[in-house]
């Protein structure tokens, strides 16, 4: 299985959770420990080792927050 690396431009995340909903591995959550400048808990990956680099999260992100790389 391909390994993925997902990076978030956290400052512009609106916490809408579309990425959370479409992740097949269920490894994305809103980071309750952070609040960004827009006042949202930004999304982050809790277990990057599980990422398969499918790109679903990035495709669904309306705000182009997410970059996905295949390692």
């Amino acid at each position: 299985m391909a390994k993925g690396l997902v990076t978030f431009n956290e400052d512009i995340c609106k916490g809408c959770e579309l990425c959370v909903a479409v992740c097949p591995k269920k490894i994305i959550e809103l980071d309750q420990s952070k609040i960004n400048a827009k006042g949202f808990h930004p999304a982050h990956v809790v277990n990057m080792d599980e990422c398969i680099a499918c790109g679903n999260c990035a495709i669904m992100c309306p705000d182009s927050v997410i970059t996905v790389e295949k390692l």
Partner: protein
């Protein structure tokens, strides 16, 4: 060595969208931008912004844009395309703009076979003005001007724009897509790209109706709004191609 699976398209600048959290309008912006880049025509593109949530789209695209009066984007695009046939001209319009006040302009742009590409965002409501009923609002769907929900007796049935325009000869590419899950988004991208291809090949008018969400005015979470597109919108607004330019001979 890593390869990029997905990164933001260069067709969008760094200005942050004004769209509400989870509004899929942003996804549609990305698809337009990605299509222009992949077809190698970003530098030739001239967009036409409309009125509604899409009014401010000129702030985000890395291409020239004209902002049009409510419903008039196809007329403005006609003016541009007739002057600059070598450019790639597109309109981005919502359902209030295109299906209501701009019904005449879109019908006649299609009727003339105007070589423009229209991306029609159908979220079944007026977003920018705060949730009023649109021609595309579903029966039973509540809106601020249909507080008890739309009824057929009072307002008729929702207007099926893609089907209507597919009856017009000059419309050479007509497809309805959705962006409620990654597979749908991938299909939507193909359709939008093909709608631009239709223009590049000089075939005629092309439109992609994109079912989109309005979590704020639907009163739903963004994720539930995706579900509502699937459970309520798609049954009334079936997805699929209604006209393809290779078939239209």
């Amino acid at each position: 060595m890593s390869t990029i699976v997905y990164k933001k398209t260069k067709a969008l600048n760094d200005t942050q969208f004004h769209y509400c959290p989870g509004c899929t309008h942003g996804i549609i912006h990305k698809l337009i931008g990605e299509s222009l880049v992949e077809l190698g025509v970003l530098g030739e593109a001239i967009g036409v912004a409309s009125v509604g949530c899409s009014a401010l789209c000129y702030k985000y695209f890395n291409c020239d844009v004209q902002q049009a009066a409510h419903g008039r984007a196809p007329a403005v695009a006609t003016g541009i395309k007739r002057v600059r046939p070598e450019n790639v001209v597109f309109t981005l319009q919502g359902d209030g703009d295109l299906a209501s006040i701009g019904a005449a302009e879109i019908v006649h742009a299609a009727h003339r076979g105007e070589k423009i590409t229209t991306i029609f965002v159908n979220n079944a409501i007026y977003g920018m003005t705060g949730g009023q009923m649109a021609p595309t609002t579903l029966i039973g769907q509540k809106a601020t001007t249909a507080p008890e929900g739309r009824t057929e007796e009072h307002s008729g049935k929702p207007l099926k724009i893609a089907e209507m325009l597919a009856t017009i000869d000059g419309a050479k590419y007509v497809e309805r897509v959705s962006v409620h899950n990654p597979a749908a988004v991938r299909k939507a991208k193909k359709a939008i790209k093909r709608a631009f291809q239709c223009q590049l090949e000089g075939k005629g008018f092309a439109i992609v109706e994109v079912l989109s969400t309005c979590p704020t005015n639907w009163g739903m979470t963004p994720v539930n709004a995706l579900g509502w597109v699937e459970s309520d919108m798609i049954p009334y607004y079936p997805l699929g191609n209604l006209r393809d330019f290779e078939e239209a001979k």
